[in-house]
């Protein structure tokens, strides 16, 4: 298996280099998606299927699609007509006159990589201790899956703040001018295949949410798959959420609101903020994760500029 692992690591490095040095933004974006998929395989080999799922769904899927969308936006504005250029989104900041020399950015990136490497070496002994502590405390957590127990019980505060950061990010995105909405041509083949895929994706999203309490899965993966289903339906002009209700502010904030309410309400009963009263952990965690799934999906959809109803 060592040979396979070395091959994976080599492929990862080569894909990263190819994505950085690609001729065009499009090719780089496609290579980035391939990079994300290989990275997901690496996570599987490292015994972290939860991270692998998140990487494949968010890192390769959603981020890759966003990059491709941005690349085609740049392309159409560079080669498009003057009217299309004028109608395109205005940047809220002044355009840079001269780009910084690349070697400065390269040196900065290398310095960051060096720092990260040093930091990673410093936390090596702690990682084993954390695994032990989780394994020790898991029976009291009433959640069978250690990753979910860490995310929503032991370190619930971290997750809460992450969701708050997501909400802040999507507020910033919605404040920026929406990209030009081009009418998508109707395509019978795409519509039929999507009509087959979208229900399956919805099923997978709910399954991932439910599975999160006992095996790999959870709100982030489920939310990414749900967002994928909604976006796919939109690209194929299927009438799933035609009014863009999903990206309205109440649903964007639902996850954080439910998390805080349950964290305070149940926490008051349990005697500690973000704690859960004994016997109620699983339903409460599931309720939080369901709300998080909706908000994460809404955030990811909103990133595609679908916030405003056409």
């Amino acid at each position: 298996m060592i040979a396979a692992d070395l091959l994976l690591a080599l492929a990862l490095l080569l894909l990263a280099a190819a994505a950085l040095l690609a001729r065009s933004v499009q090719i780089g974006s496609v290579l980035f998606i391939a990079f994300g998929l290989v990275l997901a395989l690496v996570w599987v080999r490292l015994g972290a299927p939860d991270v692998a799922l998140a990487e494949a769904a968010i890192g390769a899927g959603v981020a890759g699609a966003l990059l491709l969308l941005a690349a085609s936006e740049f392309e159409s504005r560079r080669s498009g007509s003057a009217s299309a250029r004028a109608a395109g989104p205005r940047l809220p900041w002044p355009r840079p006159q001269r780009s910084r020399p690349r070697w400065v950015l390269g040196a900065l990136a290398l310095a960051c990589a060096g720092l990260l490497l040093l930091a990673a070496q410093a936390i090596e002994p702690l990682a084993g201790a954390a695994t032990e502590a989780v394994a020790h405390a898991l029976p009291q957590a009433e959640i069978a899956h250690p990753v979910t127990a860490v995310l929503l019980s032991f370190r619930a505060y971290d997750t809460l703040l992450e969701i708050a950061v997501l909400l802040a990010a999507v507020v910033a995105v919605k404040a920026a001018p929406a990209p030009l909405q081009r009418p998508l041509p109707h395509d019978p083949v795409l519509a039929r295949v999507t009509a087959l895929t979208v229900p399956l994706a919805l099923l997978v999203a709910v399954y991932l949410l439910w599975a999160g309490s006992s095996r790999s899965g959870g709100a982030f993966q489920a939310g990414a798959v749900l967002a994928g289903a909604v976006l796919l339906a939109r690209f194929a002009s299927l009438p799933l959420d035609p009014q863009s209700h999903l990206t309205r502010p109440p649903l964007l904030a639902l996850g954080l609101a439910v998390f805080i309410l349950i964290g305070l309400g149940a926490g008051a009963l349990a005697g500690a903020a973000l704690g859960y009263p004994a016997g109620w952990v699983k339903p409460l965690v599931l309720a939080i994760e369901a709300a998080l799934m909706v908000s994460i999906a809404a955030t990811l959809v909103a990133l595609f500029g679908g916030g405003k109803a056409a």
């Binding site: 083949v189 795409l190 295949v193 087959l196 399956l200």
Partner: protein, 102 residues
């Protein structure tokens, strides 16, 4: 016996994947590349799925492998078609660019 058959299928799958990749790298235009890639890779995936079916621990696992193959077939056919369609549309646009009116 089963083991040998499974290895044979995997080797065949690898052969088809390699052929598809070779086509992707060496064929001259987008349409022929899609042709090589979708045909060879779908067959390669089918052979790999068949090889794994022989190792399946339960009927449920076997059914899942089969379903995954079917889903990948549908996705691959649809994305191949979409790329080809886009390619044709772009070629059409380039051909008609000199004339201002369509």
């Amino acid at each position: 016996m089963l083991e040998a058959l499974s290895w044979l299928l995997l080797a065949l799958a690898a052969l088809f994947f390699s052929a598809g990749t070779l086509g992707l790298l060496r064929l001259p235009d987008t349409l022929s590349r899609i042709h090589a890639l979708t045909k060879a890779d779908n067959l390669g995936l089918g052979l790999a799925a068949l090889a794994l079916l022989l190792h399946a621990e339960s009927w449920a696992a076997a059914a899942q492998i089969g379903l995954i193959w079917l889903l990948a077939l549908a996705a691959s056919a649809a994305s191949g078609y979409l790329i080809a369609r886009r390619c044709l549309l772009e070629a059409h646009q380039v051909n008609h660019k000199p004339g201002a009116a369509p």
